[in-house]
Protein backbone atom coordinates (compact mmCIF):
# COMPACT_ATOMS: atom_id res chain seq x y z
CA UNK A 1 0.00 0.00 0.00
CA UNK A 2 1.60 3.24 -1.13
CA UNK A 3 1.63 6.51 0.77
CA UNK A 4 -0.97 7.89 -1.57
CA UNK A 5 -3.41 5.10 -0.71
CA UNK A 6 -2.58 5.59 2.93
CA UNK A 7 -3.61 9.22 2.67
CA UNK A 8 -6.92 8.40 1.03
CA UNK A 9 -7.95 6.35 4.04
CA UNK A 10 -6.34 8.57 6.66
CA UNK A 11 -9.44 9.17 8.82
CA UNK A 12 -9.81 5.47 9.37
CA UNK A 13 -6.11 4.77 9.82
CA UNK A 14 -5.85 7.49 12.43
CA UNK A 15 -8.84 6.14 14.31
CA UNK A 16 -7.61 2.55 14.22
CA UNK A 17 -4.24 3.70 15.55
CA UNK A 18 -5.94 5.68 18.31
CA UNK A 19 -8.11 2.73 19.29
CA UNK A 20 -5.09 0.42 19.43
CA UNK A 21 -3.10 2.91 21.51
CA UNK A 22 -5.96 3.09 23.99
CA UNK A 23 -6.30 -0.70 24.12
CA UNK A 24 -2.59 -1.12 24.80
CA UNK A 25 -2.72 1.64 27.41
CA UNK A 26 -5.60 -0.14 29.10
CA UNK A 27 -3.68 -3.43 29.17
CA UNK A 28 -0.32 -2.02 30.18
CA UNK A 29 -1.12 0.85 32.57
CA UNK A 30 -1.32 0.25 36.30
CA UNK A 31 -4.67 1.12 37.89
CA UNK A 32 -3.35 4.15 39.81
CA UNK A 33 -2.41 5.92 36.59
CA UNK A 34 -5.69 5.30 34.78
CA UNK A 35 -6.88 8.86 35.36
CA UNK A 36 -4.35 10.09 32.82
CA UNK A 37 -6.20 8.22 30.10
CA UNK A 38 -8.88 10.96 30.05
CA UNK A 39 -6.39 13.58 28.93
CA UNK A 40 -4.76 11.17 26.49
CA UNK A 41 -8.08 10.33 24.84
CA UNK A 42 -9.12 13.97 24.50
CA UNK A 43 -5.73 14.83 22.97
CA UNK A 44 -5.95 11.91 20.55
CA UNK A 45 -9.47 12.93 19.51
CA UNK A 46 -8.20 16.44 18.83
CA UNK A 47 -5.38 14.99 16.71
CA UNK A 48 -7.91 12.97 14.70
CA UNK A 49 -10.00 16.07 14.06
CA UNK A 50 -6.97 18.06 12.92
CA UNK A 51 -5.79 15.23 10.66
CA UNK A 52 -9.19 15.23 9.03
CA UNK A 53 -8.80 18.85 7.97
CA UNK A 54 -5.41 18.42 6.28
CA UNK A 55 -5.43 18.70 2.49
CA UNK A 56 -6.96 15.51 1.25
CA UNK A 57 -6.46 12.85 -1.38
CA UNK A 58 -9.55 11.54 -3.09
CA UNK A 59 -10.14 8.27 -4.82
CA UNK A 60 -11.34 4.75 -4.29
CA UNK A 61 -9.66 1.72 -2.75
CA UNK A 62 -10.23 -2.05 -2.71
CA UNK A 63 -11.67 -2.11 -6.20
CA UNK A 64 -14.32 0.49 -5.42
CA UNK A 65 -15.40 -0.82 -2.01
CA UNK A 66 -14.08 2.29 -0.33
CA UNK A 67 -14.69 5.73 -1.83
CA UNK A 68 -13.82 9.22 -0.71
CA UNK A 69 -14.61 12.59 -2.19
CA UNK A 70 -14.71 16.13 -0.74
CA UNK A 71 -18.32 15.80 0.39
CA UNK A 72 -17.75 12.58 2.31
CA UNK A 73 -14.67 14.07 3.95
CA UNK A 74 -16.80 17.02 5.06
CA UNK A 75 -19.36 14.64 6.58
CA UNK A 76 -16.63 12.74 8.41
CA UNK A 77 -15.14 15.98 9.72
CA UNK A 78 -18.50 17.15 11.06
CA UNK A 79 -18.98 13.90 12.95
CA UNK A 80 -15.37 13.84 14.17
CA UNK A 81 -15.86 17.27 15.70
CA UNK A 82 -19.01 15.98 17.36
CA UNK A 83 -17.12 13.10 18.92
CA UNK A 84 -14.38 15.42 20.15
CA UNK A 85 -17.05 17.53 21.88
CA UNK A 86 -18.64 14.45 23.44
CA UNK A 87 -15.28 13.24 24.73
CA UNK A 88 -14.55 16.65 26.25
CA UNK A 89 -17.93 16.49 27.97
CA UNK A 90 -17.26 13.00 29.33
CA UNK A 91 -13.99 13.72 31.08
CA UNK A 92 -15.39 14.86 34.41
CA UNK A 93 -17.99 12.09 34.46
CA UNK A 94 -15.33 9.44 33.91
CA UNK A 95 -13.04 10.86 36.59
CA UNK A 96 -15.45 9.70 39.29
CA UNK A 97 -14.11 6.90 41.45
CA UNK A 98 -16.85 4.58 40.25
CA UNK A 99 -15.65 4.68 36.67
CA UNK A 100 -12.06 5.81 36.55
CA UNK A 101 -10.57 2.34 36.21
CA UNK A 102 -12.89 1.59 33.30
CA UNK A 103 -12.67 4.96 31.56
CA UNK A 104 -10.44 3.71 28.73
CA UNK A 105 -13.21 1.27 27.77
CA UNK A 106 -15.52 4.18 27.19
CA UNK A 107 -13.06 5.91 24.89
CA UNK A 108 -12.08 2.70 23.14
CA UNK A 109 -15.68 1.82 22.32
CA UNK A 110 -16.46 5.39 21.24
CA UNK A 111 -13.53 5.39 18.83
CA UNK A 112 -14.44 1.91 17.57
CA UNK A 113 -17.90 3.17 16.80
CA UNK A 114 -16.46 6.23 15.09
CA UNK A 115 -14.37 3.95 12.86
CA UNK A 116 -17.63 2.32 11.84
CA UNK A 117 -19.18 5.71 11.11
CA UNK A 118 -16.28 6.67 8.88
CA UNK A 119 -16.28 3.41 6.96
CA UNK A 120 -20.03 3.58 6.53
CA UNK A 121 -19.88 7.07 5.04
CA UNK A 122 -17.07 6.00 2.71
CA UNK A 123 -18.67 2.76 1.62
CA UNK A 124 -18.88 1.94 -2.06
CA UNK A 125 -20.29 -1.54 -1.63
CA UNK A 126 -23.18 -2.94 0.36
CA UNK A 127 -20.87 -5.20 2.37
CA UNK A 128 -18.78 -2.24 3.47
CA UNK A 129 -21.95 -0.35 4.29
CA UNK A 130 -23.27 -3.20 6.43
CA UNK A 131 -19.96 -3.66 8.25
CA UNK A 132 -19.80 0.06 8.98
CA UNK A 133 -23.36 0.11 10.22
CA UNK A 134 -22.81 -2.77 12.62
CA UNK A 135 -19.49 -1.41 13.82
CA UNK A 136 -21.32 1.83 14.59
CA UNK A 137 -24.07 0.22 16.65
CA UNK A 138 -22.56 -2.71 18.54
CA UNK A 139 -20.02 -0.72 20.61
CA UNK A 140 -22.71 1.83 21.42
CA UNK A 141 -24.99 -0.89 22.73
CA UNK A 142 -22.20 -1.93 25.06
CA UNK A 143 -21.75 1.72 26.07
CA UNK A 144 -25.45 2.21 26.71
CA UNK A 145 -25.17 -0.35 29.50
CA UNK A 146 -21.97 1.21 30.78
CA UNK A 147 -23.38 2.06 34.20
CA UNK A 148 -23.05 -1.46 35.54
CA UNK A 149 -25.08 -1.05 38.69
CA UNK A 150 -28.11 0.68 37.25
CA UNK A 151 -30.78 -1.58 35.85
CA UNK A 152 -32.02 1.27 33.65
CA UNK A 153 -28.69 1.33 31.88
CA UNK A 154 -28.75 -2.41 31.18
CA UNK A 155 -32.32 -2.04 30.00
CA UNK A 156 -31.29 0.67 27.54
CA UNK A 157 -28.49 -1.54 26.25
CA UNK A 158 -30.85 -4.45 25.71
CA UNK A 159 -33.41 -2.36 23.91
CA UNK A 160 -30.73 -0.88 21.69
CA UNK A 161 -28.97 -4.12 20.78
CA UNK A 162 -32.16 -6.08 20.14
CA UNK A 163 -33.83 -3.41 18.04
CA UNK A 164 -30.66 -2.73 16.09
CA UNK A 165 -30.15 -6.44 15.43
CA UNK A 166 -33.74 -6.73 14.29
CA UNK A 167 -33.45 -3.71 12.03
CA UNK A 168 -30.20 -4.87 10.49
CA UNK A 169 -31.79 -8.25 9.75
CA UNK A 170 -34.56 -6.44 7.89
CA UNK A 171 -32.00 -4.30 6.07
CA UNK A 172 -30.02 -7.38 5.06
CA UNK A 173 -33.10 -9.05 3.69
CA UNK A 174 -33.60 -5.97 1.55
CA UNK A 175 -30.00 -6.12 0.36
CA UNK A 176 -30.34 -9.79 -0.53
CA UNK A 177 -33.43 -9.06 -2.60
CA UNK A 178 -31.64 -6.20 -4.37
CA UNK A 179 -28.72 -8.54 -5.03
CA UNK A 180 -31.06 -11.10 -6.58
CA UNK A 181 -32.50 -8.48 -8.89
CA UNK A 182 -29.25 -6.83 -9.95
CA UNK A 183 -26.44 -9.32 -9.42
CA UNK A 184 -24.16 -6.61 -8.21
CA UNK A 185 -23.46 -4.96 -4.90
CA UNK A 186 -21.08 -2.16 -5.90
CA UNK A 187 -22.66 1.29 -5.62
CA UNK A 188 -20.68 2.36 -8.67
CA UNK A 189 -22.26 0.01 -11.20
CA UNK A 190 -25.64 -0.40 -9.58
CA UNK A 191 -28.44 0.04 -12.06
CA UNK A 192 -31.93 -0.16 -10.71
CA UNK A 193 -35.05 -0.55 -12.76
CA UNK A 194 -38.43 0.23 -11.25
CA UNK A 195 -39.68 -3.32 -11.00
CA UNK A 196 -41.66 -4.91 -8.20
CA UNK A 197 -38.71 -6.82 -6.76
CA UNK A 198 -36.62 -3.67 -6.56
CA UNK A 199 -39.47 -1.91 -4.79
CA UNK A 200 -39.63 -4.74 -2.26
CA UNK A 201 -35.89 -4.63 -1.73
CA UNK A 202 -35.94 -0.88 -1.31
CA UNK A 203 -38.76 -0.97 1.24
CA UNK A 204 -36.91 -3.50 3.38
CA UNK A 205 -33.66 -1.58 3.03
CA UNK A 206 -35.30 1.70 3.95
CA UNK A 207 -37.09 0.23 6.97
CA UNK A 208 -33.81 -1.09 8.30
CA UNK A 209 -32.15 2.28 7.94
CA UNK A 210 -35.20 4.12 9.30
CA UNK A 211 -34.76 2.24 12.58
CA UNK A 212 -31.32 3.78 12.98
CA UNK A 213 -32.55 7.29 12.21
CA UNK A 214 -35.65 6.61 14.36
CA UNK A 215 -38.21 7.71 11.85
CA UNK A 216 -41.82 7.05 12.86
CA UNK A 217 -43.07 4.18 12.81
CA UNK A 218 -39.64 2.79 13.68
CA UNK A 219 -38.99 5.13 16.61
CA UNK A 220 -40.30 3.10 19.53
CA UNK A 221 -36.91 2.22 20.98
CA UNK A 222 -35.60 5.78 20.95
CA UNK A 223 -37.02 7.37 24.07
CA UNK A 224 -36.28 4.44 26.38
CA UNK A 225 -32.74 4.02 25.14
CA UNK A 226 -32.05 7.75 25.35
CA UNK A 227 -33.39 7.93 28.88
CA UNK A 228 -31.61 4.88 30.25
CA UNK A 229 -28.17 5.40 28.75
CA UNK A 230 -25.54 7.59 30.36
CA UNK A 231 -25.98 11.14 29.05
CA UNK A 232 -22.84 11.21 26.91
CA UNK A 233 -23.91 8.00 25.22
CA UNK A 234 -27.31 9.56 24.61
CA UNK A 235 -25.68 12.53 22.95
CA UNK A 236 -23.55 10.18 20.85
CA UNK A 237 -26.67 8.29 19.78
CA UNK A 238 -28.69 11.36 18.96
CA UNK A 239 -25.94 13.20 17.11
CA UNK A 240 -23.26 10.90 15.73
CA UNK A 241 -25.04 7.66 15.03
CA UNK A 242 -28.19 9.36 13.83
CA UNK A 243 -26.16 11.85 11.78
CA UNK A 244 -24.12 9.15 10.10
CA UNK A 245 -27.26 7.19 9.22
CA UNK A 246 -28.81 10.33 7.71
CA UNK A 247 -25.67 11.07 5.69
CA UNK A 248 -25.51 7.59 4.26
CA UNK A 249 -29.26 7.65 3.59
CA UNK A 250 -28.79 10.81 1.55
CA UNK A 251 -25.87 9.36 -0.38
CA UNK A 252 -27.65 6.10 -1.06
CA UNK A 253 -30.94 7.67 -2.08
CA UNK A 254 -29.33 10.24 -4.37
CA UNK A 255 -26.95 7.88 -6.14
CA UNK A 256 -28.19 4.30 -5.88
CA UNK A 257 -31.92 4.72 -5.82
CA UNK A 258 -31.95 7.70 -8.12
CA UNK A 259 -33.99 5.81 -10.70
CA UNK A 260 -36.85 5.06 -8.31
CA UNK A 261 -36.99 8.60 -7.00
CA UNK A 262 -40.79 8.86 -7.30
CA UNK A 263 -41.20 5.84 -5.03
CA UNK A 264 -38.95 7.06 -2.26
CA UNK A 265 -40.33 10.56 -2.40
CA UNK A 266 -43.75 9.13 -1.61
CA UNK A 267 -42.35 7.07 1.25
CA UNK A 268 -40.51 10.06 2.68
CA UNK A 269 -43.53 12.31 2.28
CA UNK A 270 -45.63 10.09 4.53
CA UNK A 271 -42.92 9.29 7.05
CA UNK A 272 -41.74 12.86 7.44
CA UNK A 273 -45.24 14.11 8.27
CA UNK A 274 -45.70 11.29 10.79
CA UNK A 275 -42.24 11.77 12.28
CA UNK A 276 -42.56 15.51 12.80
CA UNK A 277 -46.05 15.36 14.24
CA UNK A 278 -45.66 12.38 16.54
CA UNK A 279 -42.23 13.47 17.73
CA UNK A 280 -43.59 16.91 18.62
CA UNK A 281 -46.77 15.71 20.28
CA UNK A 282 -44.90 13.30 22.51
CA UNK A 283 -42.21 15.86 23.30
CA UNK A 284 -44.80 18.21 24.81
CA UNK A 285 -45.76 15.81 27.57
CA UNK A 286 -42.25 14.84 28.71
CA UNK A 287 -40.89 15.87 32.07
CA UNK A 288 -37.54 14.10 31.93
CA UNK A 289 -35.21 16.26 29.86
CA UNK A 290 -33.43 13.33 28.24
CA UNK A 291 -36.74 11.87 27.07
CA UNK A 292 -37.76 15.35 26.00
CA UNK A 293 -34.68 15.71 23.82
CA UNK A 294 -35.23 12.18 22.49
CA UNK A 295 -38.65 13.09 21.13
CA UNK A 296 -37.47 16.47 19.94
CA UNK A 297 -34.68 14.72 18.04
CA UNK A 298 -37.26 12.43 16.44
CA UNK A 299 -39.10 15.55 15.30
CA UNK A 300 -35.83 17.01 13.98
CA UNK A 301 -35.32 13.83 11.92
CA UNK A 302 -38.71 14.53 10.37
CA UNK A 303 -37.57 18.04 9.44
CA UNK A 304 -34.39 16.64 7.92
CA UNK A 305 -36.48 14.40 5.67
CA UNK A 306 -37.90 17.62 4.18
CA UNK A 307 -34.49 18.33 2.69
CA UNK A 308 -34.00 14.79 1.48
CA UNK A 309 -37.32 14.81 -0.36
CA UNK A 310 -36.08 17.59 -2.62
CA UNK A 311 -33.81 15.08 -4.39
CA UNK A 312 -31.35 17.60 -5.78
CA UNK A 313 -28.01 19.15 -4.88
CA UNK A 314 -29.87 21.90 -3.02
CA UNK A 315 -31.72 19.36 -0.87
CA UNK A 316 -28.51 17.54 -0.06
CA UNK A 317 -26.78 20.79 0.92
CA UNK A 318 -29.63 21.79 3.22
CA UNK A 319 -29.56 18.40 4.95
CA UNK A 320 -25.82 18.58 5.57
CA UNK A 321 -26.01 22.18 6.74
CA UNK A 322 -28.86 21.36 9.09
CA UNK A 323 -26.88 18.42 10.51
CA UNK A 324 -23.89 20.69 11.10
CA UNK A 325 -26.07 23.08 13.07
CA UNK A 326 -27.83 20.22 14.83
CA UNK A 327 -24.51 18.78 16.04
CA UNK A 328 -23.59 22.01 17.82
CA UNK A 329 -27.05 22.81 19.21
CA UNK A 330 -27.88 19.34 20.43
CA UNK A 331 -24.47 18.78 21.98
CA UNK A 332 -24.73 22.11 23.81
CA UNK A 333 -28.10 21.08 25.24
CA UNK A 334 -26.85 17.65 26.25
CA UNK A 335 -23.70 19.15 27.72
CA UNK A 336 -25.74 21.38 30.02
CA UNK A 337 -28.05 18.52 31.01
CA UNK A 338 -25.04 16.38 31.76
CA UNK A 339 -23.15 18.87 33.82
CA UNK A 340 -26.26 19.76 35.81
CA UNK A 341 -27.10 16.08 36.26
CA UNK A 342 -23.56 15.41 37.39
CA UNK A 343 -23.52 18.24 39.91
CA UNK A 344 -26.99 17.80 41.37
CA UNK A 345 -28.47 14.56 40.02
CA UNK A 346 -31.54 16.44 38.75
CA UNK A 347 -32.96 15.81 35.32
CA UNK A 348 -36.62 16.94 35.06
CA UNK A 349 -37.87 20.24 33.67
CA UNK A 350 -39.30 21.31 37.04
CA UNK A 351 -35.87 20.93 38.62
CA UNK A 352 -34.60 23.56 36.21
CA UNK A 353 -36.94 26.21 37.64
CA UNK A 354 -34.90 29.24 38.59
CA UNK A 355 -31.64 27.94 37.13
CA UNK A 356 -30.84 31.40 35.79
CA UNK A 357 -30.57 32.81 39.32
CA UNK A 358 -27.93 30.32 40.40
CA UNK A 359 -26.12 29.36 37.17
CA UNK A 360 -26.62 32.18 34.65
CA UNK A 361 -23.96 31.08 32.16
CA UNK A 362 -25.24 27.53 31.86
CA UNK A 363 -28.80 28.78 31.44
CA UNK A 364 -27.69 31.11 28.66
CA UNK A 365 -25.96 28.26 26.84
CA UNK A 366 -29.04 26.08 27.23
CA UNK A 367 -31.24 28.91 25.98
CA UNK A 368 -29.07 29.42 22.89
CA UNK A 369 -29.10 25.70 22.17
CA UNK A 370 -32.87 25.39 22.54
CA UNK A 371 -33.52 28.54 20.47
CA UNK A 372 -31.27 27.15 17.78
CA UNK A 373 -33.10 23.79 17.86
CA UNK A 374 -36.43 25.59 17.69
CA UNK A 375 -35.27 27.85 14.86
CA UNK A 376 -35.48 31.36 16.29
CA UNK A 377 -34.13 33.93 13.82
CA UNK A 378 -30.62 35.15 14.30
CA UNK A 379 -29.31 31.71 15.30
CA UNK A 380 -28.02 28.96 13.05
CA UNK A 381 -31.03 26.71 13.60
CA UNK A 382 -33.26 29.27 11.95
CA UNK A 383 -31.23 29.23 8.75
CA UNK A 384 -31.08 25.44 8.87
CA UNK A 385 -34.86 25.17 8.99
CA UNK A 386 -35.33 28.04 6.56
CA UNK A 387 -33.17 26.34 3.94
CA UNK A 388 -35.01 23.04 4.47
CA UNK A 389 -38.31 24.82 3.88
CA UNK A 390 -36.95 26.48 0.73
CA UNK A 391 -35.94 23.05 -0.53
CA UNK A 392 -39.47 21.71 0.00
CA UNK A 393 -41.06 24.76 -1.55
CA UNK A 394 -38.81 24.43 -4.57
CA UNK A 395 -39.93 20.87 -5.18
CA UNK A 396 -43.56 21.97 -4.93
CA UNK A 397 -44.82 20.04 -1.91
CA UNK A 398 -46.87 22.90 -0.47
CA UNK A 399 -49.08 20.77 1.79
CA UNK A 400 -46.00 19.25 3.34
CA UNK A 401 -44.53 22.71 3.80
CA UNK A 402 -47.64 23.91 5.65
CA UNK A 403 -47.59 20.93 7.99
CA UNK A 404 -43.88 21.49 8.63
CA UNK A 405 -44.42 25.15 9.52
CA UNK A 406 -47.25 24.21 11.90
CA UNK A 407 -44.95 21.68 13.51
CA UNK A 408 -42.26 24.31 13.95
CA UNK A 409 -44.77 26.37 15.91
CA UNK A 410 -45.59 23.40 18.14
CA UNK A 411 -41.90 22.75 18.71
CA UNK A 412 -41.38 26.40 19.59
CA UNK A 413 -43.94 25.96 22.37
CA UNK A 414 -42.19 23.11 24.12
CA UNK A 415 -38.69 24.47 23.70
CA UNK A 416 -39.85 27.72 25.25
CA UNK A 417 -41.38 25.81 28.18
CA UNK A 418 -37.86 24.81 29.22
CA UNK A 419 -36.54 28.35 28.73
CA UNK A 420 -39.44 29.68 30.78
CA UNK A 421 -38.64 27.22 33.55
CA UNK A 422 -35.05 28.42 33.68
CA UNK A 423 -35.63 32.16 33.45
CA UNK A 424 -39.10 33.01 34.71
CA UNK A 425 -40.35 30.29 37.06
CA UNK A 426 -39.35 30.64 40.67
CA UNK A 427 -38.20 27.82 42.85
CA UNK A 428 -37.76 27.54 46.59
CA UNK A 429 -34.95 25.01 46.23
CA UNK A 430 -33.13 25.76 42.98
CA UNK A 431 -30.10 23.81 41.80
CA UNK A 432 -27.17 25.21 43.77
CA UNK A 433 -24.51 27.24 42.00
CA UNK A 434 -21.58 25.13 40.86
CA UNK A 435 -18.54 25.34 38.60
CA UNK A 436 -18.19 22.90 35.74
CA UNK A 437 -14.76 21.59 34.82
CA UNK A 438 -12.52 23.01 32.11
CA UNK A 439 -13.09 20.32 29.49
CA UNK A 440 -16.84 20.76 29.72
CA UNK A 441 -16.50 24.52 29.45
CA UNK A 442 -14.27 24.27 26.41
CA UNK A 443 -16.77 22.02 24.68
CA UNK A 444 -19.72 24.30 25.55
CA UNK A 445 -17.80 27.33 24.26
CA UNK A 446 -17.06 25.51 21.00
CA UNK A 447 -20.75 24.63 20.69
CA UNK A 448 -21.86 28.22 21.25
CA UNK A 449 -19.29 29.54 18.80
CA UNK A 450 -20.46 26.91 16.32
CA UNK A 451 -24.11 27.91 16.74
CA UNK A 452 -23.28 31.58 16.18
CA UNK A 453 -20.71 31.20 13.39
CA UNK A 454 -22.63 28.73 11.24
CA UNK A 455 -25.60 31.09 11.46
CA UNK A 456 -23.94 34.43 10.80
CA UNK A 457 -21.19 33.40 8.43
CA UNK A 458 -22.93 32.65 5.14
CA UNK A 459 -19.96 31.16 3.22
CA UNK A 460 -20.48 27.97 5.26
CA UNK A 461 -23.66 27.16 3.39
CA UNK A 462 -22.20 28.29 0.07
CA UNK A 463 -19.25 25.96 0.59
CA UNK A 464 -21.47 22.97 1.35
CA UNK A 465 -23.68 23.79 -1.62
CA UNK A 466 -20.71 23.94 -4.00
CA UNK A 467 -19.51 20.56 -2.76
CA UNK A 468 -22.96 19.06 -3.27
CA UNK A 469 -23.23 20.39 -6.80
CA UNK A 470 -19.99 18.69 -7.77
CA UNK A 471 -20.93 15.44 -6.04
Amino acid sequence: MSLNELMIMRHEWALVAVALVLLIAEIAMPVEKKKQINGLAAALAAVVVVLGFLPAQYGSLFGGMYVTDPLRILMKNILNIGVLLIILQSVSWLRQDLYHDRSSEFYLLTFASLIGVNYMISSGHFLMFYLGLELTTIPIAALASYEQFKSKSAEAGIKLILSSAFSSAILLFGISVLYAANGNLYFESFELSSSLINTLGFIFFFSGLAFKISIVPFHLWTADVYEGSPTNVTSYLSVISKGSAIFILVIVLFTLFNSIQLLWQDVLYATSILTMTIGNLFAIRQQNLKRFLAFSSIAQAGFIMLGVINASALGMATVIYFMLVYVFSNLAAFGVIQTVGHASGKITIDDYNGLYKTNPQLSLVMMLALFSLAGIPPLAGFFGKFFLFTAVAESGFYVLLTIAVLNTVISLYYYLLVVKAMFINTNATPIAAFKSDYAMRISLVICVVGILVTGFYSPVFEYIKNLCETF
Partner: protein, 105 residues
Protein backbone atom coordinates in the same frame (compact mmCIF):
# COMPACT_ATOMS: atom_id res chain seq x y z
CA UNK B 1 -28.75 -33.60 -6.81
CA UNK B 2 -28.90 -29.91 -5.90
CA UNK B 3 -30.18 -28.74 -9.28
CA UNK B 4 -33.34 -30.77 -8.87
CA UNK B 5 -34.53 -28.38 -6.17
CA UNK B 6 -36.13 -25.35 -7.81
CA UNK B 7 -35.04 -21.98 -6.48
CA UNK B 8 -38.64 -21.10 -5.59
CA UNK B 9 -38.72 -23.85 -2.98
CA UNK B 10 -35.56 -22.62 -1.32
CA UNK B 11 -36.84 -19.06 -1.31
CA UNK B 12 -40.07 -20.22 0.28
CA UNK B 13 -38.06 -21.82 3.05
CA UNK B 14 -35.94 -18.73 3.61
CA UNK B 15 -38.79 -16.27 3.64
CA UNK B 16 -40.79 -18.52 5.97
CA UNK B 17 -37.75 -18.71 8.21
CA UNK B 18 -37.33 -14.95 8.10
CA UNK B 19 -40.88 -14.24 9.14
CA UNK B 20 -40.96 -16.97 11.78
CA UNK B 21 -37.91 -15.25 13.23
CA UNK B 22 -39.64 -11.86 13.10
CA UNK B 23 -42.77 -13.32 14.68
CA UNK B 24 -40.71 -14.89 17.42
CA UNK B 25 -38.87 -11.64 18.04
CA UNK B 26 -42.10 -9.71 18.38
CA UNK B 27 -44.08 -12.16 20.51
CA UNK B 28 -41.64 -13.96 22.79
CA UNK B 29 -41.17 -12.79 26.33
CA UNK B 30 -37.77 -14.26 27.07
CA UNK B 31 -34.84 -12.10 25.96
CA UNK B 32 -32.70 -15.05 24.86
CA UNK B 33 -35.56 -16.40 22.75
CA UNK B 34 -35.91 -12.98 21.14
CA UNK B 35 -32.23 -13.11 20.27
CA UNK B 36 -32.76 -16.55 18.75
CA UNK B 37 -35.54 -15.04 16.62
CA UNK B 38 -33.11 -12.46 15.26
CA UNK B 39 -30.54 -15.16 14.54
CA UNK B 40 -33.17 -17.07 12.59
CA UNK B 41 -33.81 -13.98 10.49
CA UNK B 42 -30.10 -13.50 9.85
CA UNK B 43 -29.68 -17.12 8.86
CA UNK B 44 -32.56 -16.84 6.42
CA UNK B 45 -30.73 -13.94 4.81
CA UNK B 46 -27.53 -16.01 4.72
CA UNK B 47 -29.26 -18.79 2.83
CA UNK B 48 -30.74 -16.18 0.51
CA UNK B 49 -27.33 -14.81 -0.40
CA UNK B 50 -25.79 -18.23 -0.96
CA UNK B 51 -28.76 -19.43 -2.99
CA UNK B 52 -28.71 -16.38 -5.27
CA UNK B 53 -25.04 -16.98 -5.92
CA UNK B 54 -25.59 -20.66 -6.65
CA UNK B 55 -28.63 -20.35 -8.89
CA UNK B 56 -28.81 -16.89 -10.37
CA UNK B 57 -25.18 -15.75 -10.59
CA UNK B 58 -23.04 -18.92 -10.57
CA UNK B 59 -19.89 -17.05 -11.63
CA UNK B 60 -19.88 -14.67 -8.64
CA UNK B 61 -18.83 -15.11 -5.04
CA UNK B 62 -20.05 -11.84 -3.57
CA UNK B 63 -23.02 -13.52 -1.94
CA UNK B 64 -20.88 -16.17 -0.28
CA UNK B 65 -18.67 -13.53 1.22
CA UNK B 66 -21.60 -11.52 2.40
CA UNK B 67 -22.87 -14.62 4.19
CA UNK B 68 -19.50 -15.17 5.87
CA UNK B 69 -19.43 -11.62 7.16
CA UNK B 70 -23.00 -11.85 8.39
CA UNK B 71 -22.10 -14.98 10.37
CA UNK B 72 -19.17 -13.24 12.02
CA UNK B 73 -21.12 -10.11 12.84
CA UNK B 74 -24.09 -12.06 14.16
CA UNK B 75 -21.69 -13.78 16.54
CA UNK B 76 -20.33 -10.44 17.73
CA UNK B 77 -23.83 -9.13 18.18
CA UNK B 78 -24.92 -12.19 20.13
CA UNK B 79 -21.86 -11.89 22.35
CA UNK B 80 -22.62 -8.27 23.22
CA UNK B 81 -26.31 -8.99 23.69
CA UNK B 82 -25.69 -11.89 26.05
CA UNK B 83 -23.15 -9.86 28.00
CA UNK B 84 -25.81 -7.20 28.51
CA UNK B 85 -28.37 -9.87 29.47
CA UNK B 86 -26.01 -11.10 32.17
CA UNK B 87 -25.61 -7.55 33.40
CA UNK B 88 -29.38 -7.12 33.54
CA UNK B 89 -29.80 -10.45 35.28
CA UNK B 90 -27.35 -9.36 37.95
CA UNK B 91 -29.47 -6.25 38.49
CA UNK B 92 -33.02 -7.56 38.44
CA UNK B 93 -32.62 -11.37 38.65
CA UNK B 94 -34.74 -12.03 35.59
CA UNK B 95 -34.52 -11.96 31.82
CA UNK B 96 -38.23 -11.70 31.18
CA UNK B 97 -39.14 -8.73 28.96
CA UNK B 98 -42.21 -8.01 31.04
CA UNK B 99 -39.90 -7.06 33.88
CA UNK B 100 -37.76 -4.81 31.72
CA UNK B 101 -40.13 -1.90 32.17
CA UNK B 102 -38.38 0.68 34.32
CA UNK B 103 -39.03 3.27 31.63
CA UNK B 104 -42.46 4.01 30.25
CA UNK B 105 -44.37 6.92 28.87
Amino acid sequence: MMEHVPIAHVLMVTSTMFFIGAYGFLTRRNLVTMLIGVELMLNAVNINFVIFDRYVYPDQIEGHFFALFIIAIAAAEAAVAIAIFINLYRNIRSIDVEEVDKMKY
